[in-house]
Symmetry: C2
Amino acid sequence: MPQVMQPRPPKGMRDFLPDDLIRRQYVFNTVIEVFETFGFEPLQTPALELRQTLHGNLGEEAEKQIFYAQHPQGKEELALRYDLTVPLARVVAQYEGQLSFPFKRYHIAPVWRSERPQRGRYREFYQCDADIVGVAEMTADAEIISLVVTALRRLGFRDFEVQINNRKILTGIAEYVGVPAEQRGGLYRSIDKLDKIGADGVRRELAENGLAPEPIARLMALLDLRGAGLEGLTHLRDALRDIPTVQEGVRELFELAEHLEAFGVPASNYAFDLAMVRGLGYYTGPVFETIITEPNLGSVTGGGRYDGLIGMFRKESLPTTGSSLGIERIIDLMDELNLYPPGLGRTVVQVLVTVFDEHTRPASERLASQLREQGVRTEVVLEDRKIGRQAAYADRKGIPIAAFLGPDEIAAGEVTLKRLADGETRRVPQSEAAATIRSLLP
Amino acid sequence: MPQVMQPRPPKGMRDFLPDDLIRRQYVFNTVIEVFETFGFEPLQTPALELRQTLHGNLGEEAEKQIFYAQHPQGKEELALRYDLTVPLARVVAQYEGQLSFPFKRYHIAPVWRSERPQRGRYREFYQCDADIVGVAEMTADAEIISLVVTALRRLGFRDFEVQINNRKILTGIAEYVGVPAEQRGGLYRSIDKLDKIGADGVRRELAENGLAPEPIARLMALLDLRGAGLEGLTHLRDALRDIPTVQEGVRELFELAEHLEAFGVPASNYAFDLAMVRGLGYYTGPVFETIITEPNLGSVTGGGRYDGLIGMFRKESLPTTGSSLGIERIIDLMDELNLYPPGLGRTVVQVLVTVFDEHTRPASERLASQLREQGVRTEVVLEDRKIGRQAAYADRKGIPIAAFLGPDEIAAGEVTLKRLADGETRRVPQSEAAATIRSLLP
């Protein structure tokens, strides 16, 4: 055996012990169930990609964070997956003939980034994406928003808002106020700060960046429409009648609104917001971001239409829209707001079958086996321990029910079941044990 | 956009498109369900470990296959996980105070090895381990075998045998025939070949390795007991009365047999086999390996007791026993023997809600939303397509049921549901759609 070293995982990477992982898996499984009821199919790709698959497709800043991998004798230069969008684009290009379009896929998997580790930021973390490839219509964007809203509601969130805008409207507004294409990035960044620095702050920043007072006034008048929903969009459409990009963007959002209504998305869970700018440059149409509003806990999902991106490995692109659920942030908030169902404990085990003494052990093993066959998650005491220590173990581990099987019970074909939280006890025939355990579970 | 390159994953690594992944996930989920009914808890560790965690703990041959990873600006030397046993040992040492013992954990996760890619052998593949840390008693070994048998039966395998031996018996036999400790590896390797090269072959090989005729004869006489089950073990015990290691090994297997019976493990699914030698050197007690027997398809699980291993990051070791399910091989065999349930299709989607025309689309979207709320996995046609093309899409994708919602149905609050495999059709009120779809599913 080699020397004893201080054991730890790499910096910014986490082990998940059972009690944490049970909560994480509840979140993952809930989200997967919603994705699948929406007809999204699972996709899985390797953790490693060829370096050349990532290079040139992520942007300079992102590429600085890539982890490289290599086998000493291997010829391939590899990299750990940085996101789930590049693998999607690769898969669509590579298996085009095998896939049915529209291709609706979800992908939940870890990605690796060399970020400075800090609270809530890790070097290995899960992403959770759902995208629809091959549909240009607003039906797809509405379905994505409906999916996001349903997933968050199913997880127990109520007070949240999907903020919706359209890149085409932003582009049109920039055109209207006379900002040339190469300076629009700065314009969008200023607009994005509206909530943070206020209208005066945005005005000041735009002036500092050289925009004249008159276009600033025109812009701010338009941004005033942001809170007015579809009515605001109507005003915008009428005011910018001569800007085709705006006309198209507004028409798209009206269509989107119709589909959202038909899909039954609660009106309280979405809003159109002209000042919402998603950071990534690749969006080409509607963009959406979800904010937890009560209490204000920031953004938990982000997405939009990116009709150009799937073309990175393919001559022609395919219209694509989708959203990421910020699953790590969502798990943090679930913890903070305690949104887990009461039955979700610190252990998967539902019942501990105790062992009275070594002579009665076979009876306990038989009962454990019977309960397992009936789908009850059962632990049986494996060591020769006093009964008091067995109960203490169940308690410490958070096992909700203990089964006691002494000589009396065995002779009568019965078992005593005790709910440890409140001491509620039932003595029942062993054949009814599974049903009784289920009725005693929290 | 960068140049168009030929998209592919790294060599020996696989993408799983939905139709494949649906089958894989069925296997994973079935196994997880069995693990959890046995009270095993999930554990998750990072894909990356510190290089020093792996170095010196895997053996020289294994270490040649490690993939290294590094961030260009990072100080840590990293490696991709090679197996799930080293992470278990690290976790037990690191979180000892937080864990409850016995610590029963399962871990299903990819590992990376730079093997020469070939049929059934990959550089990224899943391992699937269940281990019990902290129990020296044979109850734990019996529980592991019961778990393996239950998992394989639940997956649909019937004709398989867990072959059980004990390293202590092998050690004792080597002692008895007079092979010194440093030459026992070769002895075990020869014994392991019994099925392949026959008794004469083993005799010849042992003679070539310098073992004298008399000890060879004594060894072969003992190996003759291999097929005689517990009776054979009794003979062995009586014959090698003076070898304490054999006495202890036989006693352990008798205990194991008692617990296996109490756990209700079918006698046809296990056997004691003195000639079964698990490759890995670290086993210290019972060893087990499962062979699919009808047809003979080789080994699908392997495990045993390794009381020394958990000590690699800890002053004192802890008694540990466990098994790996060769999950990639199991999936290959499930494919080969077609052991999947009939309802498991190529798509997660259960029903395609078609769209009669763009005027009736909102009704289709409303129905889709209602079905999703009721847990039916529903796709709604997102594009403006002729109804014939919509049905063809459902067919091509393997969606079992199509829902038709024309102006007549809408006026009557009804929907026509058609099972595409046989044309079975029902027109029902929309409120009964979910139940009817469930009754029409294969």
